[in-house]
């Protein structure tokens, strides 16, 4: 183990370097850009053997990824916001063709109006496209989840995205521990594809079209494969914990055991919430945080179990669903629905387009929850 100081973007690039994938398609977009720049630097310095493909759009990023993965290569890439929206069409091909591509996503607001700062709307827009979604709070988690995610993708033949917050995580330097490169390589292992387009001795057609008599079965198989992450992710995380000492569950429960008021959130806001929980706990307030790490497939049962003992819960969404409940709130509500005893549940949307979230605002929510008050719909 080695201590280093890296931004979230560079931490993910470091994990990619250690994995040394066969093919990486590259296209710039703020705030993902430093990740791919760093990876291209590794290539220029001969630190990776990867074939880079500098394409002309994110649509082609994912198209190259699909082609290379179907050919049997290990493929990684990264994008943000408009980029993941542009490649939306190809994301479903990657999952439908069951290709274990890993993509780092740096969460950024989506147009219009143009805004390059952090929120999770565009990331939430692609949550139902058949990819595993893991959410990182810190550069450390971005590094760790990239390595765990790669192993998971190949175990279930399903693509994985690892998401971190734009600027707040991607551009801020933190201390982290990285594994020795050989240990990372051994952990992910050599990629042995089941099928490859390059085997002309056993020619196969990839991406055939299907009539109603077969399409539905294919989709059910795909759903089973994605859901199998609920079993395979803990295995990969446990093996990683042996190497690193760092444990990852579906969620992170932070002082929730006897908590009366709990906040549920994703990514960097969890760091702010933890600081508030610590200071309020010092004053004897029973508050806690539930941070979701795995959102797809959604671990409903575990979320329910974590929250059932609380009196009041507020879900903090850094995303908005127009005309519907905010995405994480909606998932949390579903997790609670079947429980006989459930907490009061509230929603609060914050941080759109990079609006800061302050400790005081989080404290106000906790104080309100403890007093039985409904939090504000929007934290502005």
């Amino acid at each position: 183990m080695k201590k280093v100081q890296l931004t979230g973007a560079h931490a993910a690039a470091e994990a990619m370097k250690q994995i040394n994938p066969d093919v990486v398609p590259v296209y710039p977009i703020t705030p993902q850009t430093p990740m791919m720049e760093k990876f291209c630097y590794f290539k220029a310095e001969g630190q990776v053997g990867t074939e880079l493909v500098l394409v002309e759009s994110e649509h082609s990023v994912m198209s190259v990824a699909v082609g290379a993965s179907a050919a049997g290569a290990r493929v990684m890439t990264a994008s943000s916001s408009q980029g993941i929206s542009l490649m939306n069409e190809v994301l479903t091909v990657a999952s439908g063709m069951r290709l274990p591509i890993l993509m780092n996503v740096v969460n950024r607001a989506i147009s219009a109006p143009l805004n390059i700062h952090c929120d999770q709307c565009s990331t939430m827009n692609i949550r139902d496209l058949g990819w595993v979604q893991l959410f990182a709070e810190t550069p450390q988690e971005a590094y760790d989840l990239t390595i765990i995610g790669q192993k998971l993708a190949e175990a279930i033949n399903t693509p994985v995205m690892v998401c971190q917050d734009g600027f707040i995580t991607s551009h801020c330097v933190e201390n982290l521990d990285i594994l020795e490169e050989q240990k990372t390589k051994k952990f992910v292992g050599e990629y042995k594809p089941k099928n490859t387009l390059l085997d002309t001795g056993n020619p196969m057609t990839f991406g055939a079209w299907q009539m109603p008599n077969a399409y539905m079965e294919t989709k059910i198989e795909q759903e089973k494969a994605l859901s199998s992450a609920l079993a395979e992710y803990p295995k990969a995380a446990k093996e990683f914990a042996k190497l690193s000492g760092r444990n990852y569950g579906y969620v992170e429960e932070y002082r929730t055991n006897d908590a009366e008021a709990v906040i549920v959130t994703l990514c960097s806001a969890a760091g702010t919430a933890k600081a508030v929980v610590d200071s309020m706990r010092q004053n004897g307030k029973k508050v806690g945080l539930l941070k979701i790490i795995l959102l797809r497939p959604c671990p409903y049962e575990e979320i329910g179990t974590c929250l059932e003992k609380a009196k009041a819960v507020c879900v903090l969404d850094r995303a908005i669903s127009f005309g519907a409940n905010a995405p994480l709130y909606s998932e949390t509500m579903q997790a609670l629905y079947g429980l006989s005893k459930k907490p009061k549940l509230f929603s609060s949307v914050f941080g759109l387009g990079g609006r800061d979230l302050f400790e005081e605002q989080v404290e106000n929510i906790f104080t309100g929850l403890l007093a039985g008050k409904k939090p504000k719909e929007y934290i502005q």
């Binding site: 398609p25 493909v53 290379a68 002309t200 991406g207 055939a208």
Partner: protein, 309 residues
């Protein structure tokens, strides 16, 4: 050395019968000719379109070589990924054979929605042969106009009415657009002249970088020509100079065929229902413009070919 017809007939095409293309369709002949030049060690990528839906309906496939289809507009990018993976995996010793890579796409998937992806592939110098089977409209969805549709053609989105008389825009010059990427080999061919297409395909696969072939591919259904007329209409396209056969090798233009007595454009128009309205007296200006553009393009090509005629 040109191939003789016996040898050619006996060559494996790696494209099995039983596909569902219409009788009298042009592209199966194009595919078989190109695949004979490509050989067994070839990976095929299809853009969404007639060829893709008629040859890859699950659980059957006409392809005896590996074949991949992703989407409509990204065949060049998809095969770029495959070809890059090939280089990466060859380096690791995972692949031993030398492989050829070929895209087959229609005019919609090339001139229109696929143009950006194609340009990227050409610019990055992937060793890929891109074959455009050009039937001049979105035939898989039922004959809608593309930017490869000829001037004057009746399509379902440029229908002939009392005011509008079909497609009023001229075709995009896709061959020269490809050539402008300074790739080693670009050629235009037509389905009836298989020795020419076969030689061009061989040159394309031997090229040191990307190659682009634009092949005239009759659609009997939407051109309204009958199932026995693909070869005849292809000959007429060439003999009227509507579809010259030429190649651009390392930037140098060469004319591959010069009709002894070029026919007027009306000889190409008359047998096709998509142009039938042009024969009405009031529409003569449209025919005149077609003739004028065809002659102008032909003269331009002759100037570009200079000594290679």
């Amino acid at each position: 050395m040109a191939v003789n017809i016996k040898e050619f007939a006996e060559m494996e095409s790696y494209f099995a019968p039983g596909h569902g293309s219409c009788s009298g369709c042009g592209f199966p002949m194009i595919v078989r000719t190109v695949m004979k030049a490509a050989g067994k060690n070839t990976v095929v990528c299809l853009a969404t379109g007639c060829l893709e839906v008629t040859s890859t309906q699950y659980p059957r496939s006409s392809w005896k070589t590996p074949c991949v289809h992703s989407l409509f507009e990204n065949s060049a990018a998809t095969l770029s990924g495959v070809e890059t993976a090939y280089r990466a995996l060859k380096k690791r010793g995972f692949v031993k054979n030398n492989l050829n890579f070929v895209v087959f796409a229609g005019d919609g998937g090339t001139y229109d929605i696929g143009l950006q992806s194609l340009s990227g592939m050409l610019e990055r110098r992937h060793k890929i042969v891109f074959v455009l089977y050009d039937n001049g409209a979105y035939m898989n969805t039922g004959n809608q106009r593309s930017s490869g549709t000829p001037y004057g053609a009746n399509t379902t989105t440029t229908p002939v009415g009392s005011v509008l008389k079909g497609n009023m825009l001229s075709r995009k010059d896709i061959v020269r657009i490809a050539a402008a990427h300074n790739i080693p080999y670009v050629a235009q061919a037509a389905v009836h002249n298989w020795p020419d297409l076969f030689e061009k395909a061989k040159k394309a696969f031997a090229a040191d970088g990307p190659a682009f072939l634009n092949v005239f591919s009759p659609c009997q259904l939407n051109w309204g020509i009958g199932t026995d007329f693909a070869i005849e209409i292809s000959k007429l396209a060439v003999n009227t100079n509507f579809w010259p056969l030429f190649e651009i090798e390392k930037g140098s233009y060469k004319l591959n065929f010069r009709p002894a007595n070029p026919l007027p454009i009306t000889e190409f128009i008359k047998p096709q229902k998509r142009f039938r309205h042009l024969l009405e007296p009031g529409n003569k200006p449209i025919i005149d413009k077609m003739q004028e553009e065809t002659s102008m393009e032909w003269e331009k090509l002759l100037r570009q070919c200079k000594d290679n005629i």
